[in-house]
């Protein structure tokens, strides 16, 4: 996928002016966070589950090699194959080769952010294999040649009208704006694709080491058809998704559903354990797991290791006031919101991704809702430290900071300087009590007034008062 992250500011500007998008974002704000709050209220032990989730993930990351190798040998034992992909390019090539092995013309796909991350669709198409998205949201996006703006509700930026138009254009049927009709239409079109597909590609929410199973959770059931009908099922997932046991998996399923949509459990929880066995009614003949690294193993043991706990629930973006204002596409690459602001620089480089960890007030809401307690603001701050060390921040910001630091480290200089600033701004404000336009602070006064200071500093006034022994 094209990287537009350096243009975050321009994209945010456009997003703020886009009325349709703003309407759609308004719906999001009222939807997921409220449902999550209700679900959490109903579960008094939720906080305890979050601690368990955090601790278990930490344990897994400490022994990642062990669990991932256990997972691999179990998959093989079950008759499946495991492929290791160090980079996105490796992953794409492996998947293409697997498709070619069975002469695949079309592949159906369940929703998978990892395949977005590696840019699989474009790669397959360029090499003569037609991917068909079967998650409703992803399907709509594919018709519109669009990309997800959210990790679990990929088409959240669209309104009904957009969908109705896309269907009308591509399905060549009468236009409808009845969601039920549109849904039926998608079903009918997709049925044929399911049957025709040679390969089904899904992601995995978790990989279970003790059984060699992968699991996907969906609310549409499209994943089941994607993975059971074609002869070949390829699971594309990443190394940090491994959990030791089925029971451990259920802990995360409970956290995931509540944090994501406020459901107690996602509607479809589908486990895949190897290819079809003798006597099985259905299932694929070939079962492959592609384990993508793409920068993750570098995070193990680094200051960003905590990020690998992420279970992709989307709570952080659902609750993020910045995401809520500008939407997912502003972030300019695959992963939006707070989790994207930490992951994106890791995957595309801080030189291109630096805008994101800076676009945060560090309000901490994301961390407070994250089911595995990832300290997202702290990790974004680590990226800023990386930028600072590499002198990547804009010159004005760097010199401004250096000038301020020089003062702040010298109390004897700082005090008269503060007094002067207070006096100066007070004069600028005149009798009004506020400043409409402040030189060098256009970022502030273009949008809001600057309340006037009281004319001198506390340090000065306090000293005077102590000298005079009177109240100001």
């Amino acid at each position: 996928m094209q990287i537009n992250t350096p243009f975050f500011k321009q994209r945010a500007h456009d997003a703020l002016a886009d009325e349709n998008l703003q309407k759609a974002l308004g719906n999001l704000k009222a939807g997921f966070p409220e449902k999550r709050a209700i679900a959490v209220d109903r579960m008094p032990e939720f906080e305890e589950l979050r601690n368990q989730g955090r601790d278990l993930k930490n344990h897994i990351l400490e022994h990642l090699d062990l669990y991932i190798e256990q997972f691999e040998s179990k998959v093989i034992e079950n008759g499946g194959q495991v492929h290791w992909a160090r980079t996105a390019e490796d992953a794409n090539q492996i998947i293409l080769d697997l498709c070619k092995q069975v002469d695949a013309k079309t592949v159906t796909k369940g929703k998978s952010m990892v395949t977005e991350e590696i840019g699989l669709n474009d790669f397959l198409e360029a090499n003569g294999v037609q991917p068909v998205e079967t998650d409703l949201g992803e399907y709509i996006l594919q018709l519109r040649e669009d990309h997800p703006s959210h990790i679990i509700a990929p088409a959240i930026h669209l309104n009904l009208e957009d969908v109705s138009e896309a269907f009308h254009e591509h399905h060549k049927r009468p236009k409808s704006d009845d969601p039920a009709v549109l849904m039926q239409e998608a079903r009918e079109v997709l049925r044929d694709k399911f049957v025709a597909a040679d390969v089904g590609i899904t992601g995995a929410n978790f990989c279970v080491a003790e059984t060699g199973s992968t699991i996907i959770v969906t609310n549409e059931g499209n994943g089941d058809l994607t993975q059971t009908l074609p002869k070949t099922h390829i699971v594309v997932t990443s190394i940090e998704k491994v959990v030791p046991t089925l029971e451990d998996m259920t802990l995360f399923l409970r956290l995931l559903a509540r944090s994501a949509t406020g459901q107690e459990f996602t509607v479809y929880n589908t486990l895949s354990t190897g290819p079809r066995r003798e006597g099985d009614q259905d299932g694929p003949e070939n079962f492959h797991v592609v384990l993508v690294d793409n920068g993750r193993s570098e995070m193990v043991g680094s200051e960003f290791q905590d990020m690998l706990r992420c279970i992709r629930c989307s709570a952080c973006m659902n609750h993020c006031p910045v995401y809520g204002a500008v939407g997912g596409h502003s972030y300019g690459w695959v992963y939006p919101g707070p989790m994207g602001s930490v992951l994106t620089p890791q995957m595309i480089g801080i030189e291109k991704g630096g805008m994101l960890p800076n676009a945060s007030t560090f309000c901490g809401k994301c961390e407070s809702v994250c089911p595995v307690k990832i300290p997202l603001p702290k990790l974004m701050r680590h990226w800023r430290e990386d930028e600072f060390q590499k002198h990547l921040q804009p010159k004005a910001a760097r010199y401004g900071l250096a000038g301020w630091a020089f003062m702040a480290k010298r109390p004897a200089l700082y005090k008269p300087y503060a007094r002067m600033a207070s006096w100066f701004m007070k004069r600028l404000a005149g009798k009004k009590g506020r400043i409409k336009k402040l030189p060098l602070a256009g970022g502030w006064t273009d949008w809001r007034d600057m309340p006037a200071p009281q004319g001198t500093t506390f340090m000065k006034a306090w000293k005077e008062q102590q000298k005079n022994g009177e109240q100001p």
Binding site: A12, L16, P321, V322, A325, V326, N358, A359, T361, F362, C363, G364, K365, S368, R381, W383, R384, E385, D386, E387, F388, Q389, Q393, A397, L401, A405, A408, K409, P411, Y414, A418, A421, G430, K431, K432, G433, R434, G442, G443, W444, D446, W447, R448, D449, M450, P451, A452, P453, Q454, G455, T456, T457, F458, M459, A461, W462, K463, Q465, N468, P472
Partner: protein, 271 residues
């Protein structure tokens, strides 16, 4: 280091962390803090060698400057039983100091120690001194207005400040607290964020001022001047008739001083 003699109180010796915004923009907030501390029986001192908590450096990724400022602050507040300031965000920054030192650094332990004895003012009054400590003084006060309270992010999520200012406010005669929608959502200030990403910040503060004015409150209260300057500035720009004050101004009975961004007030001339 200390520029005046402690008063004759027998209570704890408190070092006031002024915060740079109170120092430069609204000294009356620091004076109100001193007043409340003294009413609570503390003897208050203002260490000379304090400047800023270092947050701009910390959040810009400049760890060296952060550590320099942290050392300076730790030294300045050495020996006080408590360190108290009118900001959850700045005191919250003091609580981050242990993170900027290596555990082998001698300042690491001192940073932990500073963290254990530094408090935001409403939390200090309510959690340390006690819920009813100011009962006598507060019930003599009168503020016959509807107010609404913005929970600043660091105060709320890092420092656990939610009930403390509300409980204290309830003890003032006439105060009617009307909660706004999304009181816990960020106002969009975020230190340098508001000038680095002004349009996004503007959207956030515009949402906020809508929620504020929807309550019909006469006064917006909060515990952090950064957020208050941001919201007051936006309320003024939009022509909304809501005043904005730091909560300590109400608690200390200092409402004769014009609200934030309101009218001409020259402290220098009062001295």
């Amino acid at each position: 280091m200390v520029n005046h003699m402690p008063n004759s109180s027998s209570g704890p010796r408190v070092g006031l962390f002024v915060t740079c915004l109170a120092d430069m923009f609204r000294p009356s907030v620091a004076f109100a803090t001193v007043k409340l501390l003294e009413q609570a029986g503390c003897s208050v001192e203002v260490p000379e060698r304090q400047t800023c908590c270092g947050q701009p450096a910390f959040n810009s990724g400049d760890r060296k400057t952060t550590a320099d400022i942290a050392r300076q602050t730790i030294d300045a507040f050495d020996g006080y039983e408590y360190v108290v300031g009118p900001s959850g965000s700045c005191i919250g920054m003091l609580h981050y100091y242990p993170e900027v030192f290596d555990p082998s650094d001698s300042y690491y332990q001192r940073a932990l120690n500073l963290k254990s004895r530094s408090f935001e003012i409403t939390s200090f009054l309510f959690d340390v001194i006690g819920a009813n400590a100011l009962q006598e003084q507060l019930k003599l006060l009168q503020f016959n207005h509807k107010v609404t309270y913005h929970d600043s992010c660091s105060g709320l999520r890092q420092m656990g400040i939610k009930q403390q200012p509300r409980q204290l406010l309830q003890q003032v005669q006439g105060v009617e607290l009307e909660e706004m929608e999304e009181a816990e959502t960020c106002c969009g200030f975020g230190g340098t964020f508001c000038v680095k990403y002004p349009e996004i910040s503007n959207r956030m503060v515009s949402n906020k001022t809508d929620y504020i004015s929807n309550t019909g409150a006469h006064t917006l209260l909060g515990g952090d001047l950064g957020c208050l300057l941001n919201m007051a500035g936006k309320l003024k720009r939009e022509g909304k008739q809501v005043e904005a004050r730091h909560v300590v101004e109400i608690l200390a009975g200092m409402t004769d001083i014009p609200a934030i961004g309101e009218a001409d007030y020259d402290l220098a001339q009062q001295l």
